[in-house]
């Protein structure tokens, strides 16, 4: 899993990433504890409500300060979280993750 996360981080696209399993982080490359904690709290709350309200959303993006935190739902109650610079084109981040998603879900 750690090697896979290594592929998620990519210069100019994703700065750091982690996997949220339930309400806890299982693996992480985050250097900033604060951002990791915000992402953990925010996305576990958001996706809990998504399943409660059955809205079928599987992706969330939160822009805070100069950063964007993105959460992509994976199978097995997991969320792949990435942090990028707010000025990075969000579609670049999404395309990058969509390519890697099957590897995580395999």
């Amino acid at each position: 899993m750690k090697e896979l996360l290594g592929q998620v981080d990519k210069a100019g696209v994703v700065e750091s990433s982690c996997i949220l399993q339930g309400a806890e982080i299982s693996v992480s490359t985050f250097a900033s504890r604060n951002h990791e904690t915000v992402a953990k709290k925010a996305f576990s709350y958001v996706f809990q409500n998504v399943s409660k309200l059955r809205t079928k959303h599987d992706e969330a993006h939160l822009e805070i300060g100069g950063k964007r935190l993105s959460g992509f739902m994976l199978n097995g109650e997991r969320v792949l979280i990435c942090m990028s610079d707010k000025n990075t084109n969000v579609s670049l981040v999404r395309e990058h993750i969509y390519l890697l998603k099957p590897k995580f879900e395999a």
Partner: protein, 331 residues
Amino acid sequence: MADYKILFTGSVCSGKTTAIRSLSDIETIDTDASVSDSAIRRKQKTTIAMDYGVLEMSDSSRLHLYGTPGQERFRFMWQLMMSDLVHDAQALVLLVDNTRNDPFKDIRFYLDEFRDYLVQRQLIIAVTHSDQQAHPDHAYYMNELKGMGIFTTVLFIDARYPDSVLEVVKSVLAEREPDLNWDELGQRLMAHRPPVIEEEEESSEAPVAAETSEPPEVKLFSAVSLMDAAMNTRGITGAMHLGADRKVLETNIGSMQNQAMLKTMVNLVAALEKKVAFLGHIDNLVLCGPEHETLSVFVEERQALGLCSEKELSLAVVKQQGQDLLQWSGE
């Protein structure tokens, strides 16, 4: 014959078409169409492709004036113009509408869009609509721009007055045209082209306004509510307006499910604003997926906006629309 070019850009309503019309000797080619959708019912016409005009400055010098369309959905035109028609322009004039909630947000946005273009060109920031909204004033602009690391000329103009717009041209070309008599040119323009002041179309029907201290324009702006503006924006199917306390002021979101989800998103944002303000301002939270409408929350100090958008809309567009809408609701 010396031929010069200047490109005007800036937000919707900042006065690009008007500025070019004020200066041009020829019938300006503008491509204004009636405003059909989108936020902008405050005005009747918007430029969809570009503006073009010509000013004969003297027997030996001519100025070509180009204007970009303001609306974000015509952004592809900007690129097209920069790489072709105006690749050799002397200056970029950024018109800034002083009535916008945060004019500096506009400045940041346009400077970012035109960053590469500005490498070999002069930039002039020309503030318009200051007759309607005096603040921020010149000193405030200079100070704020200094903070942003931008050192450039800032002029306050009224795009409807030829002599006022000419000041912009003068600050670009005065050195290149040392012999030109600017005062005379200004007088010629004013004599032949009275200020372009548009009349309100329905004015004949309108009852005589009761005497108040408020200028009429202010009423016009606030008549367009944020909710109306949102509902006239492409791809938006529902909106929720929230106050400074993040409580719902107004909503027209039909689906209970979306309504509930947006409220949990707002709660989250409000909680984060309290707890992790040290990480910076929370700008927005967007929720999407292939099988559900996109839900988003945009946050500002004084108000926030929840949107329900068609899932086909790109996230970049959703974001631009949300930010634009927050700019539009002058309170």
